[in-house]
Symmetry: C2
Subunit: 350 residues, 2 copies
Amino acid sequence: MSPADPRAVDPRASVGRATMRDVAALSGVSLKTVSRVVNHEAGVSPEVRDRVTRAVAQLDYTHNVHASNLRRTSGRTGTVGALLQDLSNSFSASLLRSIEDVARDASTAVLAGSLDEEADRERVLVKDLVSRRVDGLVLMPATSRQEYLAGELRAGLPVVFVDRTPHGVDADSVTVDNLLGARQATQHLIGHGHRRIAVLSDLVEIETAAQRVRGYREALAAAGITSDPALERTGLRTAASAEHEVRTLFREGPAPTAIFAARNDLAAGTARALRSLGLSHEVAVVGFDDFPLADLLDPPLTVVRQNVTQIGAEVGRLLFSRIAGDTAPPRRVVIEPTLVPRGSGEIPPR
Amino acid sequence: MSPADPRAVDPRASVGRATMRDVAALSGVSLKTVSRVVNHEAGVSPEVRDRVTRAVAQLDYTHNVHASNLRRTSGRTGTVGALLQDLSNSFSASLLRSIEDVARDASTAVLAGSLDEEADRERVLVKDLVSRRVDGLVLMPATSRQEYLAGELRAGLPVVFVDRTPHGVDADSVTVDNLLGARQATQHLIGHGHRRIAVLSDLVEIETAAQRVRGYREALAAAGITSDPALERTGLRTAASAEHEVRTLFREGPAPTAIFAARNDLAAGTARALRSLGLSHEVAVVGFDDFPLADLLDPPLTVVRQNVTQIGAEVGRLLFSRIAGDTAPPRRVVIEPTLVPRGSGEIPPR
DNA sequence: TTGAAAGCGCTACCAC
DNA sequence: GTGGTAGCGCTTTCAA
């Protein structure tokens, strides 16, 4: 702080970033006063405030929130994590967007990541986010059980599960009633006269995928239709695999008259296969989860819609109420999906 | 550290999170030794390492990267920011995903945000990210000029612009040749016999939107077609506004025989309008920017494709080479779009 | 191989 | 109003 130290006065001499010390030296006040000005605290005379503000501008000073948070008693970092399945998929992307909007209102930044159904990645990324001391976490889990989170939950880390419920630990969750949605889809097809209905689904290890297959079976059983295992095609991860599977179904049999595609990209693959087979208007299709432009397909795609905006908003609300100190018992919000008939699901059997 | 202090030994007594101090006390070693173990540094005897590891587990200790980074000389935080236009839109979402993948390889987390064309939000969020000391920044700017970034760039913050070039400052960028793409689209329509071609575009204040309109005009001029200002509909922000505009065009004239929709959701709006008018197979349409399922529309949508994965990978590569210390002059990567004919763009004029 | 002391940039607490 | 001192949780430096 001696005037012989040029670094403290000359901005050009400072190699790295300016600190509060530099600002204090340049404006001739104490560190604490600079802190007051920077944090817009009361109790600083206008003239001093002005002098400090000018020094801040002159030195290109920017606050270091990490140093600030380290010392603050609140323990908050103003950051939350959102670990979803695939940020490029419209479901995860819309969810992230909704969470972001709520976070912005709470002056909080969002660290986002894709899990791609990789359990190890989930554990690594959660640990990383904890190291970064996020104030809370949104998790669309890739693991089947989340005991590994017990310590964090006990320590008070707010975690909201989305799309899938927690297993082995108790935490907030916002999910869709997959059983109901799958039943709706299947009943809808049955109602239009179909009895040979195929289902395409993801890995049965994935909770939502298993529930959708179960809902499909329940609806068949309720209608007195014997389910044919050959019409159940699971373990499908991509649109391309669904496309291939549908082709196989029609080439090798047993050819269905209707298809329930239990995930949005599987519905896309189904539509591609049917188009190439010239069956777009012959075979009925209902998809699970709406997506942009589903109404513009040929025929327009009938879907079971999950209201993603509502889910995201609910997740955000829950998360930030927890961060604000809400310690009520974990809440399990279940959202009812709705069937949106658009054409593809109303095609009668041949 | 006195044995009379129970907090240092009993995990239950510690209210908040355990620190290295607690671990050191429990395992009977110095702080520095714990640091060595936690950071996997060499020079710790196996038995001591073991003792520390057990204490870490017993206390549920997790490293605090903020405190760590504060003291470290590297100055890195292992975080980058990605400010895009709308994380729920397939273009931004795919971009984020590509950036995330590159970041993960560099053990870096991504703070993501949507700008929604709001210039003020951009400035606020950039400042926030700087306060958070991100190692680098990907920016799809909402501002028309970025002089406000000059200080940060001079201070060495790596910034890569995406989709739009920097103005008023010099920085890396990865963009698509919008002029070329718009010319391709328009020429394609002209080549199929159209002379009354409408263009739908976003706010002309947005660089990419203006360029696309310019490319459209250039193509018309090159073909000796006098452009009709009434066929140029700009300032369209949403699919709904495009839908409305197309309706107006056909109700009040001048009815075009072809439409160049210069953004993906404007193409969606166009498709909706044409469908409701029963003109889907009468009016030719070319969109700018591909999106999932464009091939499944009726008719399949002809588009000028920007290779988003390539753009994202290029952005990531650039950003992390800068973070790694690459100080070569700013690079401007321009990616050529390609026209993908699918049906809608090959409809002849009536 | 291990540890003590200093300090990263900032805020809390208390004195003036 | 303003400032000094301690210390957040960790790494650095240097000594043992």
